[in-house]
Amino acid sequence: MTGARYLQPRMYLHIPTLFLFLFFILPLIALVILSFWQTENYKIVRDWTILNYETLATVPAYITFFFRSLVMAIGVSLFLVVLSWPIAFFIVRYGGRFKLVLSLLLVIPFLSGEVLRLIALQGMLGPAGLVNGALVRLGGVPLRFIMYSDTASFIAFVYLYLPMVVTTIYLSLLNFDFRLASAASACGAGKFRIFIEVIWPLNLSGTLIGFLLSFIPTLSASLVPRFLGGPNGTLYGMSMAQQFGESGTWALGAAMGVVLFLFSAGALAILSLGVNLRRTGFTGMGRQ
């Protein structure tokens, strides 16, 4: 009886641990090992080597892809934070009893698949798409920069991850005690000061999570550039997917995966260690 009681709470922990080990840790280890091997003629050669990493660090194309991805991920995430704040703020402050409905509306695009959404965007942004088609009909010049370009990818990323970022900031603001803003106001702070000194810092951790939720998938994205990036819009993740597909250079692909993993983990570490949680009002004990 006492034994069973003792076991029960441990079960809660053991089952997820086992799951994570089998389907998260083991594949990652496999990926790391593979990245130090080689592939020749669609066969894995088990010779330990760092050749894959050398290739990634020296071949200009891979370097370009990587920095294009990095700049894209930072740009998209920053833009999303700026765009999402007013939306989330509006829902929390003025949503009233429609708050829940308004926040659920953001999830509607998720009801269809990602590929479908990208094809729809292709239809919007392409040469004969809705935007350019209308422009041409009205006697204008089509906008070249939204046709199969980095800009098109950028728009697609913003479209894909907007609900994530808005939702995280929305949840953060929902838990924010707006009476603190009244207190700041009574202390002599104007609207701008209240935002800078109280609202923003106390919602910084939520904002950073939103940032990372768009940064990490954008950094490794393969579908968006494939559908919308055009010939000069190849991103790192897309190139990685090609290693596992057409080219059959799995080991190189694995090395790219490791690079992406390290960079994402790095971004996570910088943002979470670089932020003093105390200064974001985080006490680990909930709202006090």
Partner: protein
């Protein structure tokens, strides 16, 4: 004020939320160095009044003047007020020092002045050793002192306190009552103190404003509010009292209780007609209790229980009609034993009689 206008003037202020009237046509004048308590049950509109004075809310009609200047349309940060909230509302991401410096930074004081003021507030509120802690590392009483300090540090025109002691335990509350009153006398600015706790209101303030259903029921010196309630609501709400149904007797100069064989003289200033129904309010500590005797005027009753309240005994009495009455008596000797039969009466000049509406 040199021009003779009151320090704070609230002039015919109303606040409506749609069809709901939270405050109706309320006027109050407050002098400098006055401690005003705004007393009312929850939902009476007392917090709305405070928010209007603070500028956190705008009146639907009416004006608010600080030192003769119309501040009705000014936002809170331009009114030069200090405010203390029931939930303290300290900035959780800032240390005590930073919380206290916040109002000073907002008014762009020089670093030297900020340091001087922080020293001052640290001394006045005995916050030594707490300055570099975060709010969640403080006890409730410490947080309360920091909240007070944040309200006072910028030397505001007036300090608004919204039930600041409601979240503290009883002992601490009584200690803070004395402290807060001392700060007010020291600083010489008006404190406007909102509370639903009449003990707090009476122990701290100079004058009490009683608010009920958005209206000002009474305003006056605390002793007057307690001893001479102007309305039945005040009689019921301020102090603990018992209500009796009575009717004016034929002579017009006495009233007889409906359910008891007891009548009391009535100085019939309100010219109540014989047969008119009245409510008689008697404060619990104003009852006279004597051992029961046949043929003497009074309400016969039996002691059901005795509650010890420090220097007082609280006798819980039951009348023959099974009505419960509480009588408070100073503790002089041993309490009267339970089940003793007593006779309850009171001095007619010590009770309050109001005609029953309708």
């Amino acid at each position: 004020m040199s021009d003779g206008s009151p320090y704070i003037r609230i002039d015919n202020v109303s606040r409506r939320y749609g069809p709901v009237c939270a405050l109706e046509d309320l006027s109050v004048e407050i002098e400098q160095d006055e401690f005003i308590a705004i007393l009312g049950p929850s939902g009476s509109g007392k917090s709305t009044l405070l928010r209007l004075i603070a500028g956190l809310d705008q009146p639907s009609t009416g004006k608010i003047f600080f030192k003769g200047q119309d501040v009705t349309d000014l936002p809170p940060h331009k009114r030069g007020i200090g405010m203390v909230f029931q939930e303290f509302l300290l900035f959780p991401h800032r240390t005590v020092r930073e919380n206290l410096a916040f109002p000073l930074r907002m008014t762009k004081e020089t670093p030297a002045k900020i340091a001087a003021r922080l020293d001052w507030v640290e001394g006045v509120l005995s916050l030594g050793g707490l300055m570099d802690r975060y709010p969640n590392q403080l006890s409730g009483g410490q947080q309360q002192r920091v909240a007070l300090g944040r309200g006072l540090v910028a030397h505001p025109t007036l300090l608004l306190l919204d039930e600041p002691l409601a979240n503290l335990d009883r002992e601490l509350r009584q200690e803070m009552e004395v402290e807060i009153r001392r700060y007010q006398k020291q600083l010489g600015i008006p404190f406007i103190y909102v509370t639903h706790n009449q003990e707090e209101a009476l122990s701290m303030s100079d004058r009490v404003a009683v608010i009920h259903k958005g209206r000002l029921e009474a305003m006056g010196e605390r002793q007057a509010i307690y001893d001479h309630p102007a309305t039945p609501f005040v009689a019921r709400f301020v102090g603990k009292s018992t209500r009796f149904d009575a009717v004016v007797e034929a002579s017009g100069s006495s009233a007889r209780l409906l359910h008891y064989n007891y009548s009391l003289p009535l100085d019939n200033t309100a010219a109540l007609k014989p047969g008119a129904h009245v409510d008689v309010f008697v404060k619990n500590e104003r009852f006279d209790m004597k051992p029961w005797e046949e043929e003497r005027p009074g309400i016969p009753c039996a002691i059901v229980d005795v509650v010890l309240r420090g220097p007082f005994f609280e006798y819980i009495l039951e009348t023959d009609r099974r009505d419960r009455i509480i009588a408070v008596q100073p503790k002089r000797a041993e309490p009267i034993p339970i089940a003793s039969r007593m006779l309850l009466s009171w001095n007619a000049s010590q009770c309050h009689v109001f005609p029953v509406a309708g």
